[in-house]
């Protein structure tokens, strides 16, 4: 029983981690709390639903397409809207993203209706057993996709020229600018990468859970909790935070009551903010400010 709960928690945690990594990157590099993150996740889910129906392919195969679309959206969103608020005040950019989230949520209700939707791949009801534990094929493929994508992002940040520039900007914006980095361009690229990964997370979420336009705040809050638990600005931090959150919520639902995962989640959040505001893997540049 406990093993099954732990396994479920880890699967859920992997998905939380993927859904939070974009939020974490934006927070770490731009210092913007992107309250429209949940909307980007949902856009990914709806796009995957549309594409997989239109092209008659497996939802996981739409990942490159969805990521490309969200990359473009993210770049434009940061360059033409958020950039104007970033320089003024922290609260301003946060409220701006909230305003955009409200608008997009309303548009999604018009376009896709407020009903619950889900993406059903062909292997939806397959499950298999390993060492006495039951795994659904859907959840396992979702987890695998999450881990692969997180690995890709970590590699991108660590080894590619773009990743190096992003990390440099995050650590010392002024110094990066002095070295010839076009900071605005890097900000927009960071946002674009984050949006793309949010979209990918949307696909994975869409496969395992039903979703509706009203869910966006839940995914934004989840991302925030994951980032606070794990640490800001790194895929590894998001992974640790996500796994912790996944374990905490399944364990609470199993042993305390199905109504209490959110209570545990926010208690963990507040506790973590108090004890270690940088998160478990926090770096110096992400200090509480």
């Amino acid at each position: 029983m406990i093993q099954q709960t732990l396994a479920d928690g880890l699967v859920l945690g992997g998905i939380y981690a993927l859904s939070a990594v974009g939020f974490s990157l934006i927070f770490g590099v731009l210092h913007v709390i992107n309250l429209s993150h949940g909307i980007l996740v949902l856009i990914g889910a709806y796009l995957a639903l549309t594409f997989s129906r239109m092209l008659q392919i497996d939802p996981l195969l739409t990942v490159p397409l969805v990521m490309a679309v969200l990359f473009v959206i993210g770049y434009a969103y940061q360059r033409f809207l958020i950039q104007y608020a970033v320089d003024r005040s922290r609260l301003g950019s946060m409220l701006l993203t909230f305003g955009v989230a409200l608008m997009l949520q309303n548009i999604m209700i018009w376009v896709f209706s407020p009903d619950m939707k889900n993406i059903t791949p062909s292997y939806a009801f397959v499950s298999f057993h390993i060492a006495g534990l039951t795994f659904d094929a859907v959840r396992v493929s979702a987890l695998a996709a999450s881990l692969v994508l997180l690995g890709c992002l970590a590699a991108l940040l660590k080894y590619s020229p773009l990743g190096r520039v992003i990390r440099a900007t995050a650590q010392q914006t002024l110094a990066a600018r002095l070295c010839g980095v076009n900071v605005r361009h890097v900000y927009a690229l960071t946002f674009a990468v984050s949006a793309a990964f949010a979209g990918a997370a949307g696909i994975v979420i869409g496969i395992i859970l039903p979703f509706s336009p009203a869910d966006e705040s839940m995914w934004t809050l989840n991302a925030f909790v994951v980032v606070v638990l794990g640490g800001i600005g790194s895929p590894a931090g998001a992974l640790i935070g996500g796994l912790l959150l996944g374990l905490a919520s399944t364990l609470t639902a199993q042993y305390i009551g199905p109504a209490f995962p959110n209570v545990t989640m926010f208690m963990l959040l507040v506790l973590m903010l108090l004890v270690r505001p940088n998160g478990l893997l926090g770096n110096a540049f992400s200090a509480s400010r």
Binding site: A85, S93, G99, N106, V263, L269, V270
Partner: protein, 319 residues
């Protein structure tokens, strides 16, 4: 604060107090929401605007106040209406006082965004606990005894009650702003570490501001619950309240005395009266308003006006 300002406020209050006599009931109801929002916004701004500790979770105090009042009043069902209301106000204030005193020390160690989001967490935890612990009757709902007077329509009664409460909150905020304590809060907002170094008791000041704001918000929550007559968790712990309180200050002018009230008047007017018939369009319009606001007038309407007048007269009356 200019010398004619108190007179002006008094005049406005008298005009507002006479309004239910001439307005149709729908507008009296809108007036209730406006005054309630203005009062909540002003209470929010005591730590939020003056000291820079903007909370995203003041609905926690509305909910805790309302439920404490309801549960207490239902224990003493035989009391006469005015006494029941007073008892409820006392219970709500006490509950909020205890809650805010308990969380003030840990949560005020956080700053800026982290404080705001931690407060959102507090609001959600209170809401979920209230909803899921059976003794608190959050999901079942609570009925409130009718407290209106016989010779006054219910909507007019609550309108006047909100008006009195709003003036009281404004008065508290004004007294704080002009005191040494208020100057200390301002110093905390500008630079907390320097203020502390220069001998401002920052910890104590922050805690008092937080405490005062929580108790005032709780009292308003009690009145709100009575005006609804029946509440569940969802009707008092509302995330849109959490957000709107920030927007009021931002719209009117962060850190000013009248800013939150002006912002509340404007926002409620726009959303309830102008957009009242366009429910499908509601979220979109609110979002658009926020976006325009942040881009066009980042320091609010009062800030906008002040920079204009300052440019014209070249004298800078520092607040």
């Amino acid at each position: 604060m200019k010398p004619y300002a108190p007179l002006f406020v008094l005049l406005c209050a008298l005009l507002l107090a006479a309004a239910p006599g001439v307005l149709p009931p729908f507008y009296v109801r809108v007036g209730q929401i406006t005054l309630y929002s203005a009062a909540l916004g002003t209470a929010w701004a005591i730590p939020g605007g003056f000291a820079g500790y903007g909370s995203f979770g003041n609905a926690a105090f509305i909910g805790v106040g309302a439920f404490a009042a309801g549960l207490t009043e239902n224990q003493f069902a035989s009391l006469s209406p005015p006494l029941a209301l007073l008892l409820g106000l006392g219970a709500g204030a006490a509950a909020c006082a205890i809650l805010s005193a308990a969380i003030a020390y840990p949560i005020l160690r956080l700053r800026g965004t982290f404080f705001a989001i931690a407060m959102l967490g507090v609001s959600h935890v209170c809401s979920e606990l209230n909803n899921n612990v059976d003794a608190l009757q959050g999901s079942l709902g609570l009925n409130f005894p009718a407290v209106t007077m016989a010779n006054l329509a219910p909507e007019a009664f609550f309108y006047e009650l909100y008006l009195i409460a709003g003036l009281a909150v404004l008065c508290v905020a004004w007294l704080i702003q002009r005191s040494r304590f208020g100057a200390g809060l301002l110093a905390i907002r500008e630079d907390e570490d320097t203020a502390r170094m220069l001998g401002v008791p920052t910890e104590r000041y922050k805690r008092i501001a937080f405490f005062v704001s929580a108790v005032l918000t709780g009292l308003l929550g009690v009145i709100y619950a009575h005006s609804l007559g029946y509440i569940t968790t969802d009707s008092v712990y509302r995330d849109d309240t959490n957000l709107n309180l920030v927007v009021f200050s931002l719209l009117g002018g962060m850190g000013t005395l009248f800013g939150p009230a002006i912002g509340a008047f404007l926002l409620v007017f726009v959303t309830q009266v102008v957009l009242g018939r366009l429910l499908d369009f509601h979220l979109f319009a609110t979002g658009l308003l926020l976006v325009i606001l942040v881009l066009a007038a980042p320091s609010g309407i009062l800030g906008f006006v002040r920079t204009r007048t300052r440019r014209r007269s070249a004298m800078a009356p520092a607040e």
